[in-house]
């Protein structure tokens, strides 16, 4: 899947925002491993996501619906996931 100009990191999304995962790529020391963990938890290109809840302090962590399950993650990790608006 290509990264379009409409892509933005999931970490920028607010409660109620929806989209489709367009790109997952983790960088940094543990990036290679983190990317596989994100994939294993269902953050794979094409998955539909919706931000369900946000934490009290700094809106962190966030609870995200990934297809038909719910996953909690911190915004730092959510930054490695790009989403784009769902095609109509």
């Amino acid at each position: 899947m290509s990264v379009t100009s409409l892509s933005r990191p999931l970490s920028d999304a607010r409660k109620g925002d929806t989209g489709v995962v367009s790109f997952v790529h983790a960088t940094g020391e543990q990036g290679h491993d983190l990317e596989r963990r994100l994939l294993e938890m269902g953050f794979v290109e094409g998955a539909r996501v919706e931000v369900l809840h946000e934490g009290l302090i700094g809106r962190d962590p966030m609870a995200v619906r990934v297809d038909d399950m719910r996953v909690a993650l911190r915004r730092r990790e959510a930054g490695f996931i790009s989403i784009e608006p769902q095609a109509a």
Partner: protein, 624 residues
Amino acid sequence: MTDVAISPARIALVGNPNCGKTALFNALTGSRQKVANYAGVTVERKEGSFTTPDGRRISVLDLPGTYSLRARSPDEEVTRDVVFGRRAGEAMPDVLVCVADATNLRLVLRLILELKQVGRPMVLALNMYDIAQRQGIAIDLDGLSKALGVPIVTTVATRRRGIEDLVREVDRLAVGAVSPVSEWREPTAAEIREAHRQSQRILKEFVKPPARPDTFTGRLDSVLLHPVLGSLLLLFVLFLMFQAVFAWAKPPMDFLQACFDGLGVWITHVMPDSLLRSLLTDGVISGVGTVIVFLPQILIVFFFIICLEDFGYMARAAFLMDRIMGGAGLHGRAFITLLSSVACAIPGIMSTRVIDNKRDRLTTILIAPLMTCSARIPIYTLIISAFIPNRNVWGPINLQGLVMFGLYAAGIVSALLISFIIRKIFWRTASEPFLMELPAYKVPDVLNVARGVWQRAEMFLKRAGTTILSMAILIWFFSSFPRPPAGATQPAIDYSLAGMIGHWVEPIMQPIGFNWQMSVSLIPGMAAREVSVAALGSIYAISAHGDDTSKLGATLATHWSLATALAFLAWYIFAPQCASTLAVVKRETNAWRWPIIMFVYMVVLAYAAAFATYHVAVAMGWGH
């Protein structure tokens, strides 16, 4: 039947977390189960067995839940190694039973594709099938089975539905078990993506999405995960738990106390005054009895924890607490460790095995014993009921309950502070990613909760019957020998070994307000904290010249000042008085270094806290 057909077989249950694996394990094995640890690690090993209608004995291993065989934490390593037959001391399972939550198949399908590469005979148990049906999820079982290449059985573990079918399938597969050729290797990111696409295709073709999706979880989450409301509710749940520990546990505790008192009186009546009678009444009954009385409170703590876990609330609590935990340099999951440590530091420390980062894990282990474990409850209750007036200070808020809450809070705050110091000063590394599934809420199954609580009760009673009993007898011996000389004026214990040790350490403990009886009680308290109460019971029962009717609390109230009592409480917030915890830390970390560091830092904190408390309290005029 040939010999082959009835030869015993081994199966292992594998699956994602929260798929009802343990409920299925319970349904298969009933009460024939054994909880222990895997050799070398403190990953809980649950094994059980059952016999098929043909008479084949099948042993079942309940493996830790995982999303992938690419193990990252000690418990996932156990699952991987057992599945591959690589774990020392564990035979390779003949059949793998992959347990899946029928309402949440996406991730488990990928795990199944991975498990298939292992090459073992496998059956897929679609568990919670009733919920899937209720939600109107239509699963083409034949199609799915063909696409995955594994037989499928539908089960409702909590209602024991589909268990016979599963047993039959396992029985059939066990006969044909051949030695496997594993093709598995750690998948690359590209391979995980490909497996996802494949499972997505399978899902689309054979599973129709729910006609009546579960809206309950979403609606409940909008309250329980609400930034403000959710946090307040979490505090309320914790507060309710502590109040329940006191209010609900009181009647059964009074009953147990009356039983042990009655037993002591009865023995005094039927037996002549002798050493044996003294051993039974002053040693065994006042020692073990004092501890067993706290069983109801410990059961209530575990009841709450198991219910919250089974309901799915623990993951929410971790979510709500993640930022606070993160501020202290910890992983959100550390909250589950800390909450389990409220029952006992040992399961708490064991629960750190899901934390992958080594430093995160060690930090969590080091602070887990600061949480108020149930073994401290006997001590806290004894001192609070003897020294803190039982009155309401503000509406229904009871002063005794408030002090107890304060002690728990002191444990939590100090745990976070210590963690902060470790992570921000000694180990400044990026912390572990927080990534966890928020499972759908489920009403806890009564039988599974009861079994969990019972297993904990069994462990506690076993400890009371072994460690605590032997310590009680040892303390009695120490407190009774040597016998006082003829014409002694002081209580007998003054002349005993215990008295000598107590007097010897007294100068060290005097600055923190401890008398020699307290100093003596700390020594057996090393075995387990609650033994201190037993020790105080024995010491004061003996030094009170057989004044059997006086309750320990009342005795203490006449012997100790309020300042001393408060210092004793402060000491126990920090004191590393649990040999089993230190032993578990040694086993978990595989080095003596960590239990030694833990012991030293906790003793220093305990002494400092008791010192400060005592002197502040004396300054407040509570020194008499």
